[in-house]
Subunit: 309 residues, 2 copies
Amino acid sequence: MAEYAIGLDLGGTNLRAAAVDRSGVLLEKIAGATNMSEGREAVLEDMVSVIQKLRKKWGAGGLAGIGVGVPGFILLKEGIIKNSNNLPFFENLPIRDELERRLGARVILENDANAAALGEKWMGAGKEVEDLVLLTLGTGVGGGIISGGRVLRGYLGMAGELGHLTVVPTGNPCGCGNQGCLEKHASATAVAAMARVMSLGEGLTSKDIYEMATAGNESARRIWEIFGQSLGVALAMLVNTFNFPLYLLSGGVLGAWDLFAPAMLAETRRRSFTFRTTHTRIEKATLGDEAGLYGAAYLPWIESPGRVH
Amino acid sequence: MAEYAIGLDLGGTNLRAAAVDRSGVLLEKIAGATNMSEGREAVLEDMVSVIQKLRKKWGAGGLAGIGVGVPGFILLKEGIIKNSNNLPFFENLPIRDELERRLGARVILENDANAAALGEKWMGAGKEVEDLVLLTLGTGVGGGIISGGRVLRGYLGMAGELGHLTVVPTGNPCGCGNQGCLEKHASATAVAAMARVMSLGEGLTSKDIYEMATAGNESARRIWEIFGQSLGVALAMLVNTFNFPLYLLSGGVLGAWDLFAPAMLAETRRRSFTFRTTHTRIEKATLGDEAGLYGAAYLPWIESPGRVH
């Protein structure tokens, strides 16, 4: 029987799981919604049931393991989500042990952006490298660091919180306690907030600002420029810190690449001698919102359950 | 015969070399000056001669290898110092090959701050951990990252350029092309420059500013506070990025710890959820200016010559 793994990607909106074989072929994917309103028990049950469904269909014999990506600060050894804006009811629940108990199988927990970075390394834009950084640009900004082919986790599993790099020391306040965090200046939410500050209209989304900018609105263009500069400040620091060959960006706002990338690259060049003088690449990720699913499924092949390194 | 390695630490001022055994006992140390004024050939010859001296005395049979730490951006595969403010005449010279040719032995090249970080991990303040970051605070600020017990080098060997993290996006200009680099706001040079900006007097050193602050001079106290805040901005980003258990500081300005540490720790706490909620340590390194020597000597035991990872 062919070996396969099950990956699950739990977000504030979507709950996705897949069976993926050792060579990265997606055998089956189940996509559903995260029933936030029905609470913790309902979401836990959905997670368990979708994994059981895949395991039943593809067989327990060939199952290499189960990887689960969740948003928030993860304590890996304890298998706990310490802090999560998207899934507050999971905070401090020993979610890994709970899943293991219900499934009767080991589960490897990982932060969702870390899982996405691993997915891109395995089957996406980072296939050719062993070291990369991924920034996921959404309502917030997540980060994942792949070093030597594996997730850089830190001693507690909280590494890669790159959305909280300070890019404007006196900038917008952030829920994490800091101000001027990358995610407060270069996320879909930040774009909408800037539009409000500039009185471009109420209730505008980042897509609206994209269309206004494309139609020639100067204020809207300026917003994407600031977005790009903020990303550039962070990317220059990441390049100076890691000297990795590849830095990837993902998320819906990538549609506005042409509007923010010139400012982003100029800022990175200006602030990083290494970037300016080497062939370091900053590129779009390619797996879209399936990256986390691939990464979660890849975990059982490279990590022992609960191992922190 | 007991196995030992030779480590050499080349700085703009000092040239030091030592024979160190596998357990970290310093068998012999030779300390001299770097003859900058006599030029490249003289310095190269001094490096070769001091290594030969140690090799002759301790025997070629037990020599595990030779590690050399040098300041500047290193291209590891090529064994070249790409850019060095302290040793401009070594720029673009294939220094590793040149040393190997003259010594008839393999040499492992490393950036000096990386070597110092490795030394602290091996025999200093980082003995108990496998992961740490070291910031060397001197005329500039260097950085070394130890991940899984080894130097994080990046794909070219240029990782850990932490003195060029942006801590004040609109701050002081830096030779690297950026502005607001950590080393322009939290080094001995930065302290002296702030004293000049504040008209505290001409030609003051960081030691003078330390004494003025201790004597109660408010402006001098403020300078150390800004120094600490700048460090805190950088440390918070490092904690958020790596989630390592230990961050070390070294350099002469550590004497002013009591003046800058409170502001540094407050700033790190404010800007890093991880730091605020975990037992992450920010401490003084313990090996002083011998850290680089220990680290250089340790390289042969953990790296293949020329290997980049």
